[in-house]
């Protein structure tokens, strides 16, 4: 079922917001797919990293509902390979920040069983809090 998408002021504003927040020139993305092909967590994602870039360029706010940006571990494999030197991890961060700055945390620490928390090294908790909570 092909979806209809209208490019209106709202979508352009969304595109502008993510562009500014990430500091990346989203329109440079030529959709070559190198980022997706090298991404280690690609199999868990519902949309590919390049699809995420395309949705941001169109200003499609549905991208905020995807799992993809929360799965990005900032491993930067995409960054060192992009032929246009775009940093896709920064775009994922920008998308996360839009949610997090509205206090919509992804991680609820209460949901994690106490035994697991006990064995997790501090570094994992700090990083998880940094990336997944506000």
């Amino acid at each position: 079922m092909p979806k209809k998408f209208i490019i209106d002021k709202k979508s352009v504003d969304f595109f502008k917001k993510i562009s500014e927040l990430s500091g990346e020139i989203i329109t440079l993305c030529d959709q070559c797919g190198t980022c997706s092909a090298g991404c280690p967590v690609i199999e868990e994602m519902d949309i590919t990293p390049s699809q995420m870039m395309r949705m941001v360029m169109l200003g499609d706010e549905d991208v905020m509902e995807s799992k993809t940006m929360w799965l990005c571990a900032t491993c930067n494999t995409c960054t060192v390979r992009c032929p246009r030197e775009l940093d896709v991890s920064k775009v994922a961060e920008a998308l996360r920040q839009v949610k997090l700055r509205q206090s919509m945390d992804k991680l609820n620490i209460d949901k994690i069983p106490k035994e697991e928390l006990a064995e997790l090294p501090q570094i994992a908790l700090v990083a998880a809090f940094r990336k997944l909570t506000s």
Binding site: G33, T34, S36, G38, I42, R81, P83
Partner: protein, 792 residues
Amino acid sequence: MKIGVYLCECGGNISKVIDLDTVNKFVGTKDSIGVARIHSNMCSGAGQKLIIDDIKKLGLDKIVVAACSPQFHEKTFRVAMEKAGLNPYVLEIVNFREHCSWPLKKQPKIATEKAKNLVNIGIEKVRLDYPLEKKMFKMENRVLVIGAGIAGIQASLDLADAGKDVTLVEKEASIGGKMALLSKTFPTEDCAACILSPKMADVEANPKIKLYTNTTITKTSGHRLHFDIEAEINPRFIIPKIDMDQCLSCKKCEEICPVSVPNEWEQGIMDRKAIYTPAALAIPFKYLIDKENCLHFKDDSCNKCAEICPQNAIDFTQKVEKLKFTVDNVIVATGFDLIDPNLKPVFGYDRYKNVVTGMEMERIVDHINENPPPREVGNKVAFIQCVGSRDKQIGNEYCSRVCCMYATKLASLLKMERPETDIYIFYTDIRAYGKGFEEYYKRAQEMGIKYIRGKVAEINEDPDTNNLVLKAEDTLSRKIIETEFDLVVLSTGLQLSKSSDTIIDSLKLSKSSDGFIKEAHLKYRPVDTLIEGVFVAGTAQGPKDIPDTVAQASASAARVIGTLAKEEFEIDPILAFVEENKCDGCKKCLPSCPKNAFQMNDKNKAVVDEALCVGCGACISSCPQDAIDLRGYSNSQIIASVEAALEFKEKDEYRVILFADDAATYRLADIVGVRKMFYDYNIYIIRVPSGSRITPKLMTHTFIKGADAIMIGDNVKKSSAFPWSKKMTLENIEVVNEKIKKSGIDGERIFYSEFSSGMLQEFITIANETVKTVKKYSKITKEKLNKLKEIF
């Protein structure tokens, strides 16, 4: 001396603003004026006739025309003077229109005052003008073509047809370049060798073409359209050297040679011996010995070829032969190298045998029908596009133009020979822009070749199966393709051949930002370079396919034929010269000239090679004895001009002298005038060839004569014929700034700017701001100037 001064009304453009009668009266007060006239249109037939008649009847020996900018009619008046029998270089044009009446159209009183000062400058400058002779250089019919690929071959044949003497130099042992390595060519699938071989044979047989193979150019020197070339012919170790018929190519030596190394012509998919012919269809079809791998050269342990040769044609003692010759024009057709696939280690070219380059694939496909073929391809083949191109990570942002099509070709050829093979081409864009290209691409798809839109991120070897696994996103279906392939072909892009670097350095060519040889202008001078007499053709100028290469080669040949048709080449006499009696042989001028125009003669005096000198004036500040000067813009002339500009300055007035380079700043001021835009009238423009002409001494004199500030304008570096000027001028300025400080003069007094023709508003702003700034400083007193004189 009798100076003729002509004030042009320019149909009202000048006379409506400047009161020419007042100016005329002023002219009458100057010395040696033979005649002073006002005319409505000096550039018209009538105006020119006036000058001609006056010269003949009144015996005028110097001319001043106050009219529009010299860029319009300086040549016109020079021609008129020649007609009258007077040397055309005793002429000064005073810019009454663009630099005075137009910008100052709302201030006629000020314009008239300024006009008086401007014509004063013109008269004082022409007073020091003297006759100059045009220099003519004779040209002959000799052309050097560097590189015998398809571009060099085509150019040589065209030149030979036009009766030129061509020297064609090729560094490899066989001609044909990269085209000879191709199996078939797109989009027609013509056999590359079949269309190339007849041309190669023609070149070898053509009496007008002297072909040197296995030869490299080591040095080029000489002037604009006259090049002295030195080259080295590398020995083949097969005798005789000149007439090589002694070797009958019987192959006995090749058969017995014990050394086998990868055949570089076959891209390493097969081997060759250390004594070999470069290719099956090599021209010249002669053997040679690979000194690097031959055992005789390595450790004297083998003589088998010499022993078995029935003609005694092996000679291990052959030496490098040196070659020297002179030509009038050069065509650089040095071609391309493939981009090194190891720049993208993600593809594993250095580790996996089944990852090959496009060129290797050419040879594989060419031999695929042999029994057995040297390399098999398996059942599943992938092509990866844009390897090394369009990739900012490795610094090559350009598109190599031919890879989409050559991959399509290789895939199509392979599919025809091995229909069961599953072939995939992984691309980001398919660029099928040429004649027949789109149809060829469609045909490939029709044959069942699958195009997947996604760039391959990495290739790994499965440790269990040892098969290649390729990962790419199909961006059109958004699926991640992770699959095994039997063979992966990297469609590597093109870059300028490494061997071009020595040629570029010795001919003083430059490279564009993509690393290829820079043409004079991308749009309308695509085969010229910025060096007169040197042309470029083929992939050395940028990636392109065979039809475009052949077209460009013929174009460069046509340019050469046109240039040499003139037989004589004229050089502008505005050149530097050395006053021999002042020169003390210190040699400081030699490194100062970016064109290497200075030499020492046998009396140990410096001499300017007039064919090399471009008249920029940069050398003048290098001579501690003031022995160098520039004809047409001599030191005394510049000082006289400055003096004349400042002669009538009142005590409370401010005057800034702008030394404007002819090519950019002066023209820009003209354009500002044409648009009738106003800028501060206290700025007096003096035309110079480049900013570097203004030596520290001249700057100091300018202040001493009463200038409040100096502005120097040069062309922006990337458009400039004198790109060295900025650095030299700034150095000169630093010297003077120091002295100015020491003499107690306050504030920044020397301003340097780079201009290009679009910078109208910048010119006005800089001009106005400079005067405004200078007005804030304290006036330069006589005492301070005296101190400056002393310090200098």
